[in-house]
């Protein structure tokens, strides 16, 4: 079985959002770039699955659509345990564009199990995984909180709105992973970091695709009025305020 993980290169989750060029571009000054947290969980789960020989997973590939500055993040994924990496050399303009690029690559490079994180920490679109599946006319299962392989059959647990379901599926399959799929992201060991330098990172030319959306500009949230402090021995007052001022209880 061959596994593909679609990675997004995103600002570290502690980054404060700032913008430049009249609020039309994200200010990358001093930003640490990381593997999108959900993609990292998916990668971790794939490595866990591969470590069990009974699952017969021959290869884990990571793929991204991005420019050269995404490569350190790809190396990080190789250091954690991916076998090889593919970078489609284009600026990721929107989810449709990204999914179309990866779909095109997959037409000549098939995989059995394709993981996407449930959203990216930058545009929060929850979109690439589902789009990719539709481009390829293959099934997708979303909000996945567990993936196991039993006798070559992929078994999935997914969250529905108000419960969970167990799902099995034909392959190839797109799994859209969320929290729970593994406990914690794996950290690269020194040996992995050394090995990552030698692992293949293939750069592929993009195909012609028009994005369907375009960001006009960004806005920062309105600052909140200061918090109203209440004395700790006067919780009654808080309840009165919630009832009469905020009108929420």
């Amino acid at each position: 079985m061959k596994i593909l993980i679609c990675l997004s290169n995103v600002p570290d989750t502690t980054t404060k959002a700032k913008f430049v060029n009249d609020n039309t571009a994200f200010d990358t000054t001093g930003v640490q770039w990381i593997i999108n947290p959900w993609d990292e969980l998916a990668l971790t789960r794939a490595i866990e699955l591969k470590s069990d020989a009974a699952n017969s997973i021959e290869n884990i590939t990571v793929i991204t659509v991005g420019e050269k500055d995404a490569e350190p993040t790809m190396r990080k994924a190789l250091a954690i345990g991916a076998d090889d990496a593919v970078r489609i050399d284009a600026e990721p303009t929107d989810a449709y564009f990204v999914a179309a690029q990866i779909a095109e690559y997959l037409k000549s490079n098939p995989f059995d199990l394709i993981f996407n994180g449930i959203e990216s920490a930058d545009y929060n679109g929850s979109a690439v995984g589902g789009m990719l599946a539709e481009f390829l006319n293959i099934p997708s299962v979303s909000a996945v909180s567990a993936v196991n392989i039993e006798n070559g059959q992929v078994k999935i647990k997914r969250d529905i709105d108000g419960g969970t379901e167990e799902v099995t599926s034909e392959l190839p399959l797109v799994v859209i992973a969320q929290k729970g799929i593994t406990k914690e992201p794996m950290i690269a060991a020194m040996r992995g970091i050394m090995m990552a330098r030698k692992k293949p990172l293939n750069v592929v030319a993009p195909v012609e695709v028009d994005a369907l959306t375009e960001i006009v500009n960004f806005e920062l949230p309105q600052p909140k009025p200061p918090c109203k402090m209440i004395e700790p021995d006067n919780v009654k007052e808080l309840v009165t305020l919630l009832q009469n001022e905020a009108k929420v209880i």
Binding site: F19, E134, V141, G163, N217, K228, P232, D233
Partner: protein, 321 residues
Amino acid sequence: MSVLVFTENWDGKFKKMSFELVSYASKIAEMLNIQTVALSIGDVQEDELKKLGNYAADKIISVNNDKLKNLDNQAYTSVIAQVAEKEGAKVVIIAHNNTGKALAPRLSVKLKAGLGAGVSKLPSSVEPFTIFKKVYSGKAYSNLVIKSDIKILTLAQNSFEFEENVKSPAIESFEPALSDDLFKTTVSNVQKQTGKILLIDAEIVVSGGRGMKSGDNWSPIEELAELLGAATACSRPVSDEGWRPHEEHTGQTGKIIAPNLYIAAGISGAIQHLAGISSSKCIVAINTDKDAPIFEAADYGIIGDTAKVLPDFIQAVKEIK
């Protein structure tokens, strides 16, 4: 031409979210001067379907087919696309919940329709079609233009003030073409949470952080939640420690919620946590550290130990109930 809205029912009943969606869709239909068509998939009785008319649906299409008992993303996408084509949909509105996030991207490709995910307001303009959405997990917003002929929007939960506008829509049943090769997944062992208010549906949420000191100290959180008709939640360290299940983790990498009232007990308010709760209408923070960042996001704050404040809170709520 129409604005098509995909509604969801649970055991044949619509939840508030579906009414929000229909109301939202009807406002966009007004902006475009076209009809609002609501689609329901599942076994929903006519009386229940009619309720969608209370939020200005002009027409209701009901698809009731045994093959669609479980959610298969590929099959559902095909059904919505068939209805969208039949009704000349210019805009398709879907919830930004688990189901919606699974379907909207597929539909985007199927209809070659640009996707605006997680909108919380009406478009600021329909020509060009410009929406306002959260980016960087709520740390910022973007104005996004959708350039395609058809547009798909997913609406963030509890974000739109919906209103009644009673119409008497025609109810039409529709038999979609459902070839077998659309169904490649099999669902078994469905576990539904019962008797508990779901975190994503809850209007009030009581949440605990590391300041609760141990998973054994959760009874005041549960008692307060019970009294307020609230759901319980927690911060990431709490679920990582295994004090509470991961389903309760709210924050950037957990659940993103927008209740009317969020009570944060012993939560310091790391930027990732705030990203998951900042859309709440009212935030109450209880923390011993007066410099905790949660107080910057909160509307009301108490500097104090949860072990003392929560029992007083419970007592004070009992007095008004």
